[in-house]
């Protein structure tokens, strides 16, 4: 900061217009550089500012993993570095959610994307529609030994757009049932192996919640409502899909909610509150604390919370989300973390192959990833005896086959406006602020407005 000031200190007459401009620009440069250094010292940012091409022998990789997932992803990155010592891997972890996808989209538009990026399957759809991702042809994938038959069928199919692949799924992360084994044993809800007996009807589900409540002395089950829209949506979508219901069609241009089915699910959620089987006011952290403290027999949440309860030494196990309405056709809400290659005008074949090699390396380390609860999509590992022995992960892995992804639409996907709108309405029933009918009308109204808006992508 001293530089521009000292340059005209001795000039007596004050600065000429030119020095004045120069010093102004220097200041801007200094503050920009300073901001970049303070904010992030990564190579990507630096190369973005200086507009220099990156080192062709390295792989730039962006992800959005924090917490336990972040630690495991770093382990996998180190694994790649060990097996590929000649390739420099520069990995950047960015904040989860909308900011991540904004940055990834803008970096790709500005021709400065990473070589490989993580994207949720439902959010990658938006990027594919914006023409931001490279197609991954069967031939290209085969060069690194990735073929569709080695990947979870459901996750692979869900990622296809017009039959073409743009993403490689790393996992499936469904909403699952966490159950307190001590409480459930006392309540007589476990079978002879100590595993939760399946809850395959509304009556059986309600009974299990009531029995759990009788033992826990507080609540039967819990799922977060306050300051949270994703979980209410996940619970609703799981039950609603079991009934065969759909929310959007025609790529999000039509709202096709089945009123009877939706009301049936919302009424079930409403009665859980009325009977005080579920708390009507609890936020995400609160729901975790409640389950960890044994104030609730069940928690309905994404499998990623597994490490939280392992660390807390809660007496717990996990099962797929209850098949309340599905019968033979099981369904539960899920998304997948996928790996994709953003478009880059100057990428040569060698760099492309190197990126694919990195993706393959991450798939090969699926055992590390599965420790965090995610159901591995890489079948060579998912079908191996090693994974079968991994408990409780293997107990709910079957849920991935019933995975229902958020419907297609420019406003849909994990963390999208779609989830905010539906989750807010569903949450208002779970907290007793609105009747199921009013909530449904509100949800439909807001979705129809978006369905009628021209897609910005």
């Amino acid at each position: 900061m001293n530089l521009p000031l000292s340059s005209y200190q001795g000039s007596g007459q004050g600065p000429t217009r030119r020095t004045f401009l120069k010093s102004g620009l220097a200041m801007v440069g200094v503050s920009l550089g300073g901001a970049a250094l303070a904010g992030c010292s990564s190579d990507n940012v630096a190369s973005g500012l200086t507009i220099s091409r990156k080192d062709p022998s390295s792989v730039d990789y962006w992800n959005l993993f924090g917490g336990g997932d972040g630690v495991r992803m770093q382990e996998m990155q180190d694994g790649y570095r060990k097996t590929h010592p000649s390739v420099g891997l520069s990995a950047v972890t960015l904040a989860w959610g909308n900011p991540y996808y904004t940055k990834l989209s803008l970096a790709t538009l500005g021709d400065k994307p990473p070589d490989v990026a993580v994207a949720h399957l439902t959010r990658a759809k938006t990027m594919i529609a914006s023409n931001l991702l490279e197609e991954l042809t069967p031939d290209a994938l085969a060069t690194v030994g990735i073929t569709p038959d080695k990947l979870s069928r459901r996750a692979w199919d869900a990622g296809l757009v017009d039959g073409k692949a743009y993403t490689v799924p790393l996992d499936t992360h469904p909403i699952v049932t966490f159950y307190n084994t001590d409480i459930c044993e006392k309540a007589g809800l476990l079978d002879s192996d100590g595993k939760l007996k399946p809850l395959t009807s509304e009556a059986a589900f309600m009974e299990a919640m009531a029995k759990g409540k009788a033992v826990s002395k507080a609540y039967g089950g819990v799922s977060p409502i306050n300051n949270e829209t994703a979980t209410p949506w996940r619970v609703f979508q799981s039950l609603y899909s079991q009934l065969g219901g759909e929310v959007l069609s025609d790529g999000g241009r039509k709202v096709v909610i089945d009123d009877d089915k939706a009301i049936k699910v919302l009424t079930l959620l409403d009665s859980l509150r009325k009977k005080k089987l579920f708390p009507s006011s609890v936020d995400y952290e609160g729901s975790i604390a409640m389950f960890a403290n044994g104030q609730s027999a069940f928690l309905f949440q994404g499998e990623w919370e597994i490490s939280t309860f392992q660390t807390a030494k809660t007496a717990f196990s996990m099962a797929p989300f209850p098949n309340v309405y599905g019968g033979a056709k099981y369904a539960c809400q899920a998304d997948s973390h996928t790996l994709c290659i953003p478009k880059q005008p100057t990428r040569d074949d060698k760099a492309f192959e190197q990126s694919l090699g990195f993706i393959r390396s991450l798939l090969d380390q699926s055992s590390t990833w599965a420790a965090g609860g995610h159901v591995p999509a890489w079948l060579p590992y998912a079908n191996s005896p090693a994974f079968k022995k991994l408990s409780p992960q293997s107990d709910y892995a079957v849920a991935a086959d019933g995975a229902v992804y958020d419907p297609d639409g420019w406003y849909s996907g994990s963390g999208s406006d779609f989830e905010i709108i539906t989750g807010s309405a569903i949450g208002s029933v779970q907290s007793g602020q609105q009747t199921p009918e009013a909530a449904l009308a509100q949800m439909r109204g807001k979705l129809e407005k978006l369905a009628g808006t021209a897609s910005p992508i």
Binding site: P4, Y8, Q13, G14, P15, F20, L21, S23, G24, L25, M27, V28, S31, N98, P99, T102, S105, L106, L109, T126, M127, S130, L132, I225, N226, N227, E228, T229, P279, S280, S281, V282, D283, E285, G286, A289, M290, W410, Y411, G415, S416, D417, I420, S424, A425, G427, S428, S431, Q433, Q434, Q442, K446, L450, T453, A454, P456, I457
Partner: protein, 312 residues
């Protein structure tokens, strides 16, 4: 008398010319010193604002290059017909109504009390000002814990004295007052410091004279302190209204605009449209409308306070 005035007059004239010369001599260096600021201001405030105004007439998308197709006034028409826009605008105004009066009154009262403290005045100044230094994320986390249903500090405290606690952040009608309470605690320190500075500018002779004339403490406050702080009050009020209208962080972190959109401020609605739905053109139109509202509210408020001030 007259000779004195004359000398003063003659003295003043050269002084005046000298000062205007001084101004000329120094205007260039002054400009140079201002230049970095002006450059940054143009680059980061005026430039983007003009760009935003342009975008508001286009269907600009966050994930497509360029401005996209021309939309004319469609974005504005959509915004004015959107119930989401009006309800979020009302939430912002409701928040402003809930926070501004307590922040002004409490800031004044606490400054008055802290000013009277004889020993350990630094402690009270620090205590009231400290929360203001904390970042919004820290404040939000602290208050989320305080408001937690079932095991939060506030509910436990109220139950221990036999009171029932509302569902602070989970109940649509309580969420906004709860946010207002945490905001008052957080930002009170700023107004407090402004008032404290104002109080210290009032000459103590005035109080001494009033006391000799037999004015009690309450009369002194009403007839000396409050009138002499009128300018400070104007400043505090205008700054406070604008700060409250700009609310975003607390709501975004503590309630995410919920429950069921009941605390979604207009800035969060703009954020949702621009960054979640990628509709930057529409979001820019919303921003422009909000800009007009803030300008109008500030102007009206400023006029009201000014006219009150001149009456005093």
């Amino acid at each position: 008398m007259s000779t004195e005035t004359a000398t003063r007059m003659t003295q003043r004239t050269p002084a005046a010319t000298r000062s205007s010369q001084k101004f000329n001599d120094h205007s260039r260096p002054a400009m140079a010193f201002l230049a970095p600021f002006v450059a940054l201001y143009v680059l980061f405030i005026i430039g983007p604002a003009i760009y935003g105004l342009v975008m508001s007439f286009f269907d600009t998308s966050l994930v497509k290059p360029g401005l996209s197709s021309f939309a004319g006034l469609e974005n504005y028409a959509e915004a004015l017909q959107s119930t989401d826009f009006w309800s979020s605008l009302w939430h912002t105004i409701w928040f402003t109504i809930l926070t501004t009066p307590p922040l002004i009154v409490l800031g004044f009262v606490l400054a008055l009390l802290a000013d009277r403290v004889g020993r350990g005045r630094w402690f009270f100044r620090l205590a009231f000002f400290a929360p203001f230094i904390l970042p919004s994320a820290v404040i939000a986390l602290i208050w989320i814990w305080i408001y937690t249903p079932g095991l939060g500090l506030l509910e436990t405290a109220m139950k221990s004295i036999g009171l029932g606690a509302p569902d602070w952040l989970g109940d649509a009608s309580w969420a906004m007052p709860s946010l207002a309470i945490s905001t008052v605690w957080w930002t009170l320190g700023f107004n407090f410091i402004l008032y404290l500075a104002g109080l210290q500018d009032i000459p103590s002779e005035l109080y001494e004279a009033a006391a000799i004339d037999g004015a009690g403490p309450w009369q002194q406050i009403r007839s000396i302190t409050i009138p002499l702080l009128a300018r400070t009050t104007t400043l505090v009020a205008v700054l406070q209204v604008i700060a409250s209208l700009k609310v975003f962080d607390q709501m975004y972190i503590m309630t995410a605009g919920g429950p069921n959109f009941s605390t979604r401020s207009v800035l969060e609605y703009i954020y949702d449209e621009g960054f979640t739905n990628f509709r930057v053109g529409y979001a820019s139109a919303l921003s422009m409308l909000f800009f007009v509202v803030v300008l109008a509210v500030s102007a009206v408020w400023f006029a009201i306070v000014r006219s009150q001030e001149s009456e005093v």
